[in-house]
Symmetry: C2
Subunit: 350 residues, 2 copies
C-alpha cells in the first residue's frame, strides 16, 4: 500500500531514454535535443518525480544543503526566556527563502562555543550532512576552532556580521559607523555622561562598539572612565545588572546604550523599577531592533541591522559558488544599517 516514490529509472523507461539523459535534463546540462527534453519532462510530471536528495548527495559533488551554525547558549536562552528570537527568525527568513529558490535546504545547527568538544561537534555535522556551504553567525564566525575545522575540510562558508576581515568571505554591516552614529545621536541630545552595556567580548563586534563609543566620546572632548562601560553577556539579566551598576555610580549617566535588545530591555525594567523617567531622566538606546524594543514603553531608539538581507546574501553566495563549481571568492558584502530614532532617547536633563 505504501506507494514507493518514482525513481530516475522509472522516468527513463517512461520517456524511453537512458538514465543519463534524464539526469542531463534534470540538471540543465547542454546537448540534449528539445524533443528528448520534452519527453523527459513530461514523464517527470506524470510520475510526480522528484530526485532523491540522498542519492544525489552520495553520487554527486553537491548535497543541496546549507548549514547555519548558531550559538547554542544564546539561542537556547532566547527560546527559554521566550523574549523572542528576532535575530534567528530573520536569519531563517532570509536564508531559507533563498535556499528554496534553488532547490536547496537549510539546516539549522546549534553549537556550544564553550564545549571542549566543539571541533568534534562541527566535524560530525560536516561529515554526516556534507553541506555545500555553511553560514556562520556570531560568535562562531570568529571562533578559530570553527573556522579551522571548516578550512581543513575545504567547505565554503560565509561569515555573518563580523568585523574581522581576512578570514574568508563575509556579509556584514558597518558596526563602527553604527556605534559612531548612535553615540553622536546621544551627544547631539546634549548627553555628557553616557554609559554602555557591552556584549560578550567573544563577539568582536561587542569590542568594536565599545571602542568606537569611547573614541567618539573622546573626539567630542569627553573621557570615558572605565566604570561607564559594563560588560554583559547579551542576556536580559546582564542588562539589569549593568543598569544597576551604572545607575549606582556617584554621578550616574544620563544615557545608556546597550549592545543588544535583551540588555536594553533590562535597562528599561530597572529604570521603571527605580522610577526613573525615560527619556526624561535617562535615555536608552539598543543595538537590535526587535519587537520587544519596538513595543517597549517607551519604544526604544535602536540600530537596525539588516539580518534577513545579510542571511539571504550569504545563502546566495554559497549557492552560486556551489552551482558554478567555482571556489567562493573571499569578497565581503557591506549592507546598510539604520538608526531608528524612537521615544527612548531625548535631550539630556539640564
Amino acid at each position: 500500500m505504501a506507494k514507493r516514490p518514482a525513481t530516475i529509472i522509472h522516468v527513463a523507461e517512461k520517456a524511453r531514454v537512458s538514465v543519463k539523459t534524464v539526469s542531463r535534463v534534470l540538471n540543465n546540462e547542454p546537448n540534449v535535443t528539445p524533443d528528448l527534453k520534452e519527453r523527459v519532462l513530461a514523464a517527470v510530471e506524470k510520475l510526480g518525480y522528484s530526485p532523491s536528495k540522498a542519492a544525489r548527495t552520495m553520487a554527486g559533488s553537491r548535497s543541496y544543503l546549507l548549514v547555519a551554525f548558531n550559538d547554542r547558549r544564546l539561542t537556547l536562552d532566547n527560546w527559554r526566556s521566550e523574549r523572542g528570537n528576532e535575530w534567528i527568525d530573520q536569519m531563517l527568513y532570509g536564508a531559507m527563502l533563498r535556499c528554496e529558490q534553488s532547490g536547496y535546504h537549510l539546516m539549522f545547527e546549534l553549537v556550544d562555543r564553550e564545549s571542549d568538544q566543539l571541533e568534534k561537534q562541527i566535524t560530525a555535522v560536516l561529515s554526516s550532512l556534507q553541506p555545500d556551504g555553511v553560514i556562520l553567525t556570531p560568535p562562531n564566525c570568529e571562533n578559530p576552532v570553527v573556522l579551522g575545522a571548516l578550512k581543513k575540510r575545504n567547505i565554503p562558508f560565509v561569515r555573518l556580521n563580523t568585523p574581522v576581515r581576512g578570514q574568508g568571505p563575509r556579509v556584514y554591516m558597518d558596526d563602527r559607523a553604527a556605534a559612531r552614529q548612535a553615540t553622536r545621536h546621544l551627544l547631539g541630545l546634549g548627553h555628557k555622561r553616557i554609559g554602555m552595556i557591552a556584549g560578550d567580548y567573544k563577539f568582536s563586534s561587542s569590542i568594536q562598539r565599545v571602542e568606537t563609543f569611547v573614541a567618539t566620546m573622546e573626539a567630542a572632548g569627553i573621557a570615558v572612565p572605565e566604570a561607564w562601560v559594563y560588560q554583559g553577556d547579551f542576556t536580559f539579566e546582564a542588562g539589569v545588572a549593568g543598569a544597576n551598576a551604572l545607575l549606582d555610580l556617584p554621578e550616574p549617566p544620563t544615557a545608556i546604550m546597550a549592545s543588544n535588545d535583551q540588555m536594553a530591555l533590562g535597562v528599561v525594567s530597572v529604570a521603571q523599577a527605580r522610577g526613573i523617567a525615560v527619556p526624561g531622566a535617562l535615555s536608552i538606546l539598543s543595538y537590535d531592533d526587535s519587537i520587544g524594543v519596538r513595543l517597549s514603553v517607551p519604544s526604544l531608539t535602536a540600530v537596525r541591522q539588516p539580518v534577513a538581507r545579510m542571511a539571504e546574501k550569504a545563502a546566495d553566495m554559497l549557492i552560486t559558488a556551489s552551482a558554478s563549481g567555482e571556489k567562493l571568492t573571499a569578497g565581503s558584502q557591506l549592507l546598510p544599517f539604520e538608526l531608528m530614532v524612537r521615544a527612548s532617547t531625548g535631550p539630556a536633563p539640564r
Copy 2:
C-alpha cells in the same frame, strides 16, 4: 588538501573487522563481542568518524530526518512584519532539541495552503527528502490534501494542536476548555457584551473557540448576536479591522477576545488610537501568550499554549516509532494550557 571524511570502510580496516560489524556497533545491534565493540568505537573516535546521513538514507529504511510543514502565508507574514514568530520559535525549540537527542534532524518546510500545487509540493518534499516522520501544524494538520498525501505514502505524522480527532495521532491542548475558561474569566468580571475576533476558519480551533465562546455565553444567559463575532485571519490588520467593527456597534462590547496575539495587539492599538482605557473601558484577551502580548501596555491576559512541549512530544512520538520500526499508534496526547491573567482584563464598566 580537502580532507575527505572517513568512511565506514576506514573504520572497519582500522578496527580489523568487517564493515557489517561496524554497522552493528553503530546501530546498537545485539550479538557483538564487547572486545570488538570496543575496537570499533576506538577506531570511530580516532578517525572522527560520523556516518553519512545520505548513505544511510539510501541504503536503509531510515533517514534520521523529520519534516515540519508550516503554513507559508502566516509564517511569511509574521517574518515580514517583524512582529515576532513565537509559535514557530517554540515549535523549533521543542522539536529540534528532541531530534538532536537521537541524532535526528528537523527540516522546516513552508507549504502554501491556497496553492493548487499543494499536493505536488508535499510529494516533492517527501520523495526528495524521504523523512521518517512529519510534524503538521495548523492549518495543515486539518488539510485533507496534506493528510491524504501523507497517508498515500504511508509516512508517519503527528498533528499539532488540532481538535480534529480520528485522522491519526496528535498532540493537542483542550481548546474548548481554554475558550470556556477565557469566557468565564470575562463573565466573572461582570462583562455582558463581549466581542470576539475569530481566526481564519481554515483553522478548526478557530471555529471551536467561537462555538465554545457562544455556548458559554448562552449558558450564562447571554445570547450572542452575530455582530459580536468578527472573522479575522490572524493578522494584526485583521485585529484592527475587527476592533473597529466591534467598537462601532451601537452598543459596543466592554470586552474583546482575539483568537491570537497579532489580532489582540491590533485591538490594543485601536483602543489606544481611540483613547479607550484598557481595561477601564475595554478588557482585552489573547489566545497566544507571546512576547508582544506580555510587553504590550497594558500586558495582556492570554491563554498560554504549550507549543514547545507539544512539538517535543510530537518529535518524540515520531522518533520512537521510527526507531522501533513499529507503526505509530493513533493515540492522542493532551497537554495542559494555562490562562495568564494580566493587566488587560478588569471589571466591566458599570
